[in-house]
């Protein structure tokens, strides 16, 4: 599903964010990327979502060589990825329902279909009752779950999340991670950047460890999914 071939990324400032990183994540697999802050976790996710281009090497997502995706093709590429952000990035001037509906609206889904799928997504994250609420009226954990509902509503084959539990307490974090694990179980590929080592240990999933832009460890639990 995701393949990195000798990928390096050097920013214009001269910072080497990633150096010769190679790995492959199978479809339906759930994996974490971890490392100290500045190790290159976010950069790695940005290369997948085409928010950045690699300086060297090749990134392939869903059998598509990303170097071949031109500027105009970027929106279409991103529609195949459900993205979850640390600060959830909900649009505060719209209801929970409208936030979750946004990817479908962008994709041009019919109105009846939008209502059906938004409710299904909200149901999955346990927020069906709050569809009319404003995002700011929700707790931080609930806001993140709305963010997740928005990421899954269009049923993308791949979900990537950058520190999705960064602002949550351990109990909520585990809940959120288990939610991601559920999607992994139904065939969606999930890639999560997180520095919460305790949480990663409990999840018993594959972990890619970055250190100063280099992939230093690719840990696979014995009882891999």
């Amino acid at each position: 599903m995701i393949r990195f071939d000798n990928v390096s990324k050097r920013y214009l400032t001269g910072l080497d964010a990633l150096a010769e990183v190679s790995f492959e994540i199978e479809a339906g697999e759930m994996a974490f990327v971890t490392g100290h802050s500045g190790a290159g976790k976010s950069t790695l996710l940005k290369l997948v979502s085409l928010a950045e281009r690699p300086t060297r090497g090749h990134v392939t997502v869903n059998e598509r060589e990303l170097a071949r995706v031109r500027r105009r093709g970027i929106p279409q590429h991103r529609r195949g990825i459900g993205m979850v952000f640390q600060d959830h990035r909900l649009l505060t001037d719209r209801s929970v329902f409208d936030n979750v509906a946004l990817p479908l609206l962008i994709a041009g889904t019919s109105r009846a279909e939008i209502a059906k799928r938004v409710r299904a997504a909200l149901d999955k994250v346990g927020l069906l009752a709050r569809e009319k609420a404003a995002p700011l009226a929700l707790s931080t954990g609930e806001q993140q779950r709305v963010g997740i509902a928005r990421a899954i509503v269009a049923k993308p084959p791949l979900i990537i999340a950058d520190e999705p539990t960064g602002n949550l307490d351990p109990q909520l974090s585990l809940e959120i991670m288990n939610l991601f694990a559920e999607f992994g179980a139904v065939g969606t590929t999930v890639l999560i950047a997180s520095h919460d080592l305790l949480l990663l240990k409990r999840m018993q999933k594959r972990v890619l460890v970055l250190d100063h832009g280099r992939l230093v460890d690719d840990y696979r639990p014995v009882r891999a999914a």
């Binding site: 393949r3 199978e26 479809a27 979502s49 085409l50 928010a51 950045e52 281009r53 392939t60 869903n62 059998e63 598509r64 060589e65 071949r68 995706v69 031109r70 500027r71 105009r72 093709g73 970027i74 929106p75 279409q76 590429h77 991103r78 529609r79 195949g80 990825i81 993205m83 952000f85 990035r89 649009l91 946004l102 990817p103 609206l105 962008i106 994709a107 041009g108 889904t109 019919s110 109105r111 928005r150 990421a151 084959p157």
Partner: protein
Amino acid sequence: MSAQAERRAAPPAKKGAEPRGPRAPLGERLAAWRDQHFYSFFSSLGRLAARPWATLLTVLVLGFAIALPLLFWLVFDNARELSGGLREAREVTLFLQPSLGPEQAESFAAELRRRDDVAAVLLRTPEQGLAEFRDLSGFGEALDALQSNPLPSVLVVTPRESGADEDPPLVAAMQADRRVDLVQYDAAWRRKLGGILHFGERVVAVVAVLLALATLLVIGNTVRMDIQARSAEISVMQMIGASNGFVRRPFLYAGFWYGLLGALLALLVVVVVELALAEPVARLVESYAHRFALHGLGAGVAAAVAGASTLLGWCGAWIATARHLAAGRPA
């Protein structure tokens, strides 16, 4: 997974980015497209209504910017109409010697009618002239005090169309004729008036172009500020796969509304000015013996103004969003 791994070795030779999976049928996609436009159309209006003061201020600026050249144009258009009769007129007015009696005047007129370069001759007797003067000048009572009619017979001669710009030879011939006291042919004066009006029209055109540019800039700048205020929202939308078109659409509709509302306000301003001027104009018209009527903006012009302004708003918003989108994307 092995099948996928094999395929991965040879990336699909597709160009650009075709959508994944089967596309929805055309009718459904059209309906979705229409839904998206409906959504942007009304949500942009709602957004303007949510900030009534800021919107009102922008619309006021636009309204007056558009009203100004419209008012200029209206004034010159009416002035042109007023002068139109004068400018078009080719008549040569001959004031005959007062000593010439009615019969002599009549025969002189008949003589002129036989000329090749004369199309028509109208004889105005002194009595007719006096009556007309009484009507127009308002000196009726003063005229009553006159013992005799001081006015001469007047021949209004319409020369045949020669096409040439210079004075017809008739004018020179009449100036030489002893029966004629005075030849009035104001070609030079008319040309001067024409020149002034032409200049006025050009001024209106230049002012209109400048203020259209101002309209474009005001709307472009307003939309630009709107974009800055919503840049976080735009980046979220881009991250989850919104195309440039999708991001741009609500702003284009905002520009559309600004342009339309500005034009409507401008037309309202013009109507109010017309009403304010109606009374003095009516008096002026009275003194011109109803040969002139003030005309306002026609429905066609009003529609053209609204259409042009809306188009300007759309273009201004397009420029603003294009700049933002060009700056905010990775290579």
